[in-house]
């Protein structure tokens, strides 16, 4: 593959480099030779189902557990040989908010500041600045146990930022959050990346990876099964599915014909009589726009329109090639046409 040249991220220096990382728990191979790179100032999404080894990877990279074999270098420090220096340059937000529930938000941040060797004064002002930044000033003196799920996650992110880390690990940062809170967390993460933090994000959601990451590594049962730029992987797995419902149900057939005619969907425009929608796989935003254009050019009024991302299951099925569903096959054909 030559995509290295196409990917602007790979030109940047590497902040996290993992080679052949292995970690076994008894018989279970949690990590079975993982290779990955995270480039400076970018977000790498590590996508995988439960039990794929995502959390084990983060725990190895944050020195919580020692790998059995392989090498991992973070910001120039080796995870096994230089754990203390490494701990100084990383931030960690785990699946469970790692804050002290009995302490107030401010006390939590002050404590972490002191443990990171800030002076009392520095620790206090850094805590206040981060409370402000993560919109927690009003709740600063309340015990963290009274916080909502989203506030707790924000406090957790704030705690990870105290030491101005080079590299931030986010281990499924939005698992268990409602959609609104999830959007809040995404906004915060985007802000941190804008400030130049390098992020390794693990997630089970394609949507989350698409929102935050520029590159993606897909892992399953402790092994990397694919990696590359988001767009490229999306193309590989069939991208999104556009669902259009005509305002008038009788126009369902003409709508499908319009999409076929513009050769947008090839054989892929599928009529779903149950929902009264036409399903079309799209790979790029251009195709999305063209599809909508084709429909309106025919004078068909659109009743509703939505875009679906492939689910993690679909990503896996198409990457491992075990089974592919109809829309994805259509997408592959479309990709050939497009190329």
């Amino acid at each position: 593959m030559t995509r290295t040249d196409k990917n602007p991220e790979s030109g940047r220096p590497v902040a996290v480099s993992v080679r052949g990382l292995v970690k076994h728990f008894g018989e279970t191979k949690a990590l079975d030779g993982v290779d990955l790179d995270v480039h400076e100032g970018t977000v790498l999404g590590v996508l995988g189902p439960n039990g794929a080894g995502k959390t084990t990877l983060v725990r190895c990279l944050s020195t919580l557990i020692t790998p059995d074999a392989g090498q991992a270098v973070v910001a120039g420090y080796d995870v096994v040989r230089q754990p203390r220096q490494l701990r100084r340059v990383i931030g960690l937000t785990g699946q469970y908010a790692s804050v002290d529930e009995k302490l107030s938000g401010r006390e939590n941040l002050y404590l972490i500041g002191r443990l990171l060797d800030l002076s009392r004064k520095e620790a206090r002002s850094r805590a206040d600045a981060l409370l402000e930044r993560f919109s927690l000033t009003d709740a600063a003196t309340r015990p963290a146990r009274t916080y909502s799920g989203g506030m707790r996650r924000r406090l957790d992110l704030a705690a990870s930022m105290i030491g101005r880390p080079h590299v931030l690990y986010l281990d499924e940062p939005t698992t268990g959050l409602d959609p609104r809170t999830r959007n809040e967390v995404w906004a915060e993460v985007t802000g941190m990346v804008r400030d130049g933090v390098t992020v390794l994000l693990t997630t089970q959601y394609m949507e989350e990876a698409e929102q935050l990451a520029s590159e993606l590594t897909v892992i399953d049962r402790g092994r990397v099964i694919a990696n590359g730029g988001i767009d490229e992987l999306k193309a590989k797995v069939g991208g999104r599915t556009l669902r259009i419902r005509p305002a008038d149900p009788r126009e369902l057939r003409p709508l499908a014909d319009a999409l076929e005619e513009r050769r947008l969907a090839g054989a892929g425009a599928v009529i779903d009589p149950e929902s009264g929608e036409v399903l079309v796989p799209v790979v790029s935003d251009d195709q999305l726009t063209a599809a909508v254009g084709a429909v309106t050019a025919r004078g068909i009024t659109i009743g509703s329109i939505s875009v679906e991302l492939p689910s993690l299951d679909e990503v896996f099925l198409s990457l491992t090639g075990q089974k592919a569903s109809a829309p994805q096959q259509a997408a592959r054909e479309l990709e050939e046409v497009a190329v």
């Binding site: 593959m1 480099s17 919580l64 203390r84 990383i90 804050v99 529930e101 694919a226």
Partner: protein
């Protein structure tokens, strides 16, 4: 596959040995963590209930329930029993309070905060030493209340105030040693309930199979032998000697030996288990 994005080999880096954490650093970290545990007490004053109530209830129970009859055997009634049992109960507090350290620690572990601490550049022992320090504060509160109650039920110190301080110091020293055991239990066991149950199983025979509550010479031979090697007997005897002006030598030596032995063996085990906990 697009593994081609990875550079063929890992970047070469020069490995500089990890710098040691300075003594001041250790003190700063431990201090910050002690502050955290003290804030817990401030947040949740009920957590001090055991330290406050246990000495009161135990003293009243033992003095008024068993005091009369055991005192008779001692040849002086309830007043004689007060003189006998109070130093023993001071010793007992070491274990009663120490037991709580395991439970609290285990609860801490089942939340994410320990992962945060372990991913920070702090000494591995700081978290444990802070925990022990705060438990020692609780122990001192318990012992103080114990002494107030003791004086109220008629304990006569006979001016052995220095001895009393010595007994308290010895109790705190021995208490910190057994806290390491409970910390190991706290790190190893799955949940707080099992820690408590296990702690109870360890504690009961050691406390009652000792010279804390009654002289051992009326016990069957096998039990008397057990009490001889039981560190709780040694601590109770030393504390009794210090507070009433009796002999202290043997009890003191045995207690100090146990304290040193337990700390030397259990502290590294606790720290290692804490560091390696997956």
């Amino acid at each position: 596959m697009s593994t081609a994005t990875l550079s063929p080999t890992a970047p070469t880096i020069t490995i500089q040995a990890d710098p040691k954490i300075s003594l001041r650093g250790h003190l700063r970290h431990t201090g910050a963590l002690i502050r955290r545990n003290l804030l817990w007490i401030k947040q949740d004053p009920e957590s001090m209930m055991d330290a406050v109530l246990m000495p009161i209830i135990f003293t009243l129970l033992f003095v008024y329930v068993f005091g009369g009859s055991i005192g008779q055997a001692l040849g002086g009634g309830q007043a004689a029993y007060v003189q006998y049992v109070i130093p023993g109960m001071i010793a007992m507090m070491s274990m009663n309070i120490a037991q709580g350290v395991g439970t609290g620690f285990n609860e801490d572990f089942n939340k994410g905060i320990m992962d945060r601490f372990r991913s920070l550049p702090i000494g591995r022992g700081s978290v444990l030493i802070a925990k022990i320090s705060v438990e020692l504060v609780r122990l001192l509160v318990a012992v103080t209340i114990q002494m107030v109650v003791a004086l109220l039920v008629g304990f006569d110190i006979h001016g052995h105030w220095g001895g009393l301080l010595g007994a308290i110091g010895l109790t705190a020293l021995f208490g910190s040693a057994i806290m390491w055991i409970f910390l190991v239990l706290g790190v190893t066991m799955k949940n707080a309930q099992s820690v408590q149950a296990m702690g109870f199983l360890v504690m009961m025979p050691l406390q009652f199979g000792s010279s804390i509550f009654a002289p051992t010479n009326s016990m069957p031979g096998w039990l008397e032998n057990f009490t001889k090697y039981n560190p709780m007997s040694a601590l109770a005897d030393a504390s009794r000697g210090l507070m009433t002006g009796g002999p202290i030598g043997h009890g003191l030596t045995v207690t100090l030996a146990w304290t040193a032995g337990l700390t030397l063996v259990m502290a590294p085990v606790a720290i290692r288990k804490f560091t390696k906990k997956a």
